[in-house]
Amino acid sequence: MSTVSKKICLIGDFSVGKTSLIRRFVEGVFSEKYLTTIGTKISRKVVNLKPSSKEIDLIIWDIEGRTKFKSIVPNYIKGATGAIIVGDLSRQETLDHLPAHIELFFQTNPKGVAIVALNKSDIIEKHKLTKLLELNNFGSNSQIIKTIVTSAKNNTNVDRAFTELAENMVDS
């Protein structure tokens, strides 16, 4: 069968770890160094979906968090089937901005699906994690598959976030 290509994008404030999540998923590496993304960077990875053994070619758009050209973001996320909306568990304001990012994505792509990734779980104490997860749950929105705690550094849930998103994209 032919491989289906899908565009997904990572959205969130600057320095929340979008680029790191992608690098972890695509290249399997992590770096402490922070190089802010300018504009957008595109990567690609073929994902095998287990039960159906379907193949999906993910074209991953890493979108700058620190954008001066606010109006350009909708252009970059246009035509995406899925999104990972990323927040930084160690910076409350990035979590506060999650709803705005979610809204922008669904406005631009009404039929899209998304996963919310609460990143940098490695630097958060266990007992705080559950609380934070509770506070930032977007379960009420049916297009949000789930909210998940991730760490690009420790490779926690990174593959899972991408794969679950991919699975839900072929269904939709």
Binding site: S2, V4, S5, D57, I59, K78
Partner: protein, 770 residues
């Protein structure tokens, strides 16, 4: 045993590549050396091709004389001629990396032979060869180093040298590829190899660069460029506006309903408005093929084309390069360059506008495919950035990467990106448009609903794209022109006829025969082997007659082949009156070519030359600092048609400048007229060596703090620099460089004043092509 001796001799000849004889001589030595090399029969594969091989005759000679201060008028070129066989092998050995492997292999084989207890035979072979070599090279200095060394040592040493040679070649080749690929016709793969990583990087870099700068850079150019285009060339306006007309209408409606409704009539305005409110992209789809491809654009562009034709038929000389150059608004040289680059489609992508997903792709070169998904994504990002953030509502239509160009054409839900190497004909843009409108008309809905699954796209889409990939045979573009425009062509011809009544009567045949003549000329000119000759064609009602002189019957037949195709198409007879004689190539062309190639060669490090062409002989003056470059220069220059002899008048070492301008303690002003007079020397030096520039290097004594001295030395350098410029020295030829504060060659026990100076160091400037 004669076999292994033969092998050994071959090997020795190969290994003893003439590391330039003068290398061992101090540059200032008055001794002169000359060696004559026969012209290399083969050129390195990547250098070959475009240059017509018309002067392949064995008797043409390249002189290489490494000269010093004295002149070489009284030397006898033939006295030091090495054997033909040797010099050829020598050249072969440095051409490509392969021969080196072969040699290495032979070294291994020889080692076996040695183990095989046949040292006797071999060393006798060597010594006889050695003698022979010594005689032949007439004490040129490079055979003495293998008098009686142990054979193993000798082989080891040679091996080491081979490796060095291989290394330097490996370093040089990619560089030369890049620099000289302009000239390469058939080795497209090689260009591609070098370009692909660059392109990927360029695309990535562009995106990761500072957005502000990028927008600034583009924004500065865009409005001006558009304004200019519209003013100067209405046809470009057509091009610019046509594809966006639909979009503009939509935009205009959004901005100013009334004006549009008024203009279009209230009924139409409303209808369009309603439609647009329903579905913007669908509307664009619908409008694109209609508006994009018709009146406004054609009117503008056809007027341009007709103008060209009229201009042609008015010219007495018929079609000459001059006119074509003028028509395209470029210099003749540029035209030659443009035509020498074969244009080739590297890839065509049909991309969904929003998602950047590839709907369909064609990559004719299967060996080095582009990472299409990433390229498409990046293009989409760049495109939407340019279109929305820089000038909204405008369309990014072209991205340039050196010899590569990406042409973009958008409609509805998709756009086409064509990655092209070389200069496409202007008509190619039309073909892209046609292709796109065909695709949008037939498959618009499939494209709109594309979900990333290529199996939903009919295979015929790919065929349409493939068709587009086969560009640039002139027949196709001519044919397109003929097909697409007859009505308007006539319309405009009629208008022109009424204006230009005196010409009206001859119009039809003139235009027709002019068109055929032009076609013949273009085709002949497109052939690299024929483009140097002045071939002419005449067309009457029944015949195409071609006349001119070429240097071989092979070329005559080649011309015959090319023109007979056109004759068949036009249903005319071909009368081939071309004479095959040994005629010289057009000297103007050769002069231009020599200059152009020299400029290219000057981009190699350590090469700073000026070439002068006269009476089939190129005299090269200036500096070439290493032997490999000498070979390169030789093979390039000597392969230019019309060049029979290359005289090297180059130096291998840069001259030293002993002049120093001294300063008083803690002073940055030039102290007296003696010191000031030294500026004049600098001026004369630069006049004497037009290919060299000078570094201005200031120093100070050890008194005072470091920061003070740093400032002081800079001031001193500036003073010298300014004084030199005020005396008429070209500022571009001086470069202030601050090195160590204290001069490297003054010791602490010497007087302080010795350190307070500005010195000069010649260097070969890095050049960019004009």
């Amino acid at each position: 045993m004669p076999d292994s001796i033969d092998k050994l001799i071959d090997l020795l000849l190969d290994v003893e590549t003439p590391v330039n004889p003068t290398n061992s001589e101090p540059a200032s030595s008055p001794k002169e050396q000359q060696s004559l090399l026969t012209k290399p029969e083969k050129k390195p594969a990547f250098l070959a091709q475009k240059i017509p091989s018309t002067v392949e005759s064995k008797d043409s000679v390249i002189e290489i004389s490494h000269e010093t201060a004295a002149d070489n008028n009284n030397t006898e070129p033939n006295s030091t001629e090495p054997s033909l066989a040797e010099s050829e092998t020598n050249l072969a050995a440095i051409e490509t990396p392969q021969p080196i492997e072969v040699v290495e292999e032979s070294v291994a084989k020889v080692a076996e032979v040695v183990l095989d207890d046949r040292i006797q035979a071999i060393s006798s072979a060597i010594s006889s060869l050695k003698e022979q070599n010594i005689q032949e090279t007439n004490n040129n200095g490079f055979s003495t180093d293998f008098v009686n060394p142990g054979i193993d040592d000798w082989i080891l040493e040679k091996e080491a040298r081979l490796n060095e040679l291989a290394d330097s070649l490996n370093n040089l080749i990619p560089l030369m590829m890049e620099l000289l690929s302009v000239k390469v016709n058939d080795s497209q793969e090689l260009i591609l190899q070098t370009m692909i990583p660059l392109m990927d990087r360029a695309i990535q870099e562009r995106s990761s660069q500072d957005l502000d700068k990028m927008s600034l850079a583009i924004a500065r150019i865009l409005p001006d460029a558009i304004a200019q285009e519209i003013k100067i060339e209405p046809k470009s306006m057509g091009k610019a506006i046509a594809p966006e007309l639909a979009l503009s209408i939509e935009e205009q409606i959004r901005l100013d309903q009334d004006a549009v409704s008024l203009a279009l009539g209230s009924e139409m305005g409303k209808a369009i408005k309603a439609q647009i409110e329903l579905e913007k992209d669908a509307m664009v789809d619908a409008l694109y093929p209609v508006i994009g491809n018709t009146i406004s654009k054609y009117l503008a562009e056809e007027i341009g084309r007709i103008n060209q034709k009229v201009e042609n038929s008015l010219s007495r000389e018929g079609i000459s390069r001059k006119i074509r150059a003028k028509m395209r608004g470029i210099s003749e040289a540029e035209l030659i360059l443009q035509e020498s680059i074969v244009c080739k489609v590297q890839a065509i992508f049909l991309i969904q506008k929003d998602s950047g997903l590839i709907i369909c792709e064609v990559q004719p070169d299967k060996e080095h495919p582009l990472e299409s998904d990433l390229v498409a994504g990046m293009l989409t990002a760049i495109r939407s950035f340019a279109n929305d953030c820089i000038i909204s509502g405008s369309e990014l239509s072209e991205i340039d990467y050196g010899n590569f160009e990406i042409l973009l054409e958008a409609a509805g839900y998709c756009y086409i990106a064509v990655v092209i190497s070389g200069q496409p004909k202007p008509e190619f843009r039309d073909r892209i448009r046609e292709t796109l409108s065909k695709l949008v008309m037939q498959y618009g809905d499939k494209i709109e609903n594309y979900q990333g699954d290529t199996s939903t796209i009919p295979p015929s889409v790919k065929l349409v794209l493939k068709d587009l990939a086969n560009i640039e045979t002139d027949e196709t573009s001519e044919a397109n022109q003929k097909k697409s425009a007859p009505i308007l062509l006539w319309l405009i011809l009629i208008i022109l006829a009424s204006i230009l009544l005196p010409w009206g009567i001859f119009k039809y045949h003139a235009v027709k025969s002019q068109r055929i003549t032009e076609k013949v000329a273009v085709q002949l000119d497109n052939n690299p082997q024929l483009s140097v000759y002045r071939l002419q064609s005449q067309v009457d009602r029944k015949n195409i007659t071609i006349t001119g002189k070429v240097s071989s019957s092979h070329l005559r037949n080649l011309a015959q082949e090319i023109v007979s195709e056109i004759a068949q198409e036009e249903k005319l007879n071909l009368d081939n009156q071309i004479i095959a004689v040994d005629v010289p190539a057009d000297p103007t062309f050769t002069t231009q070519e020599v200059t152009r190639v020299s400029q290219l060669l000057n981009q190699l490090t350590g090469v700073g030359i000026v070439s002068d062409y006269q009476d089939y002989r190129v005299t090269i003056t200036g500096f070439i600092l290493d032997t490999v470059s000498t070979e390169t220069v030789t093979s390039y220059i000597s392969n230019i048609p019309g060049v029979k002899q290359v005289v090297f008048n180059v130096k291998q070492e840069l001259p030293t400048v002993d002049t120093r301008i001294y300063f008083d303690s803690q002073e940055s002003e030039i102290k007296n007229s003696t010191e000031a007079g030294k500026i004049d020397f600098i001026k004369r030096f630069l006049e004497e060596y037009p290919t060299l520039n000078l570094r201005v290097i200031p120093h100070s004594d050890s008194k005072g703090s470091k920061s003070f001295n740093q400032k002081l030395t800079l001031e001193r350098a500036k003073t010298v620099y300014q004084t030199a410029i005020s005396q008429g020295v070209d500022p571009n030829r001086l470069e202030i460089v601050s090195e160590e504060l204290f001069p490297p060659d003054v010791t602490p026990d010497q007087p302080l004043w010795l350190s307070r100076h500005v010195r000069f160091e010649p260097f070969i400037p890095e050049k960019t092509l004009p």
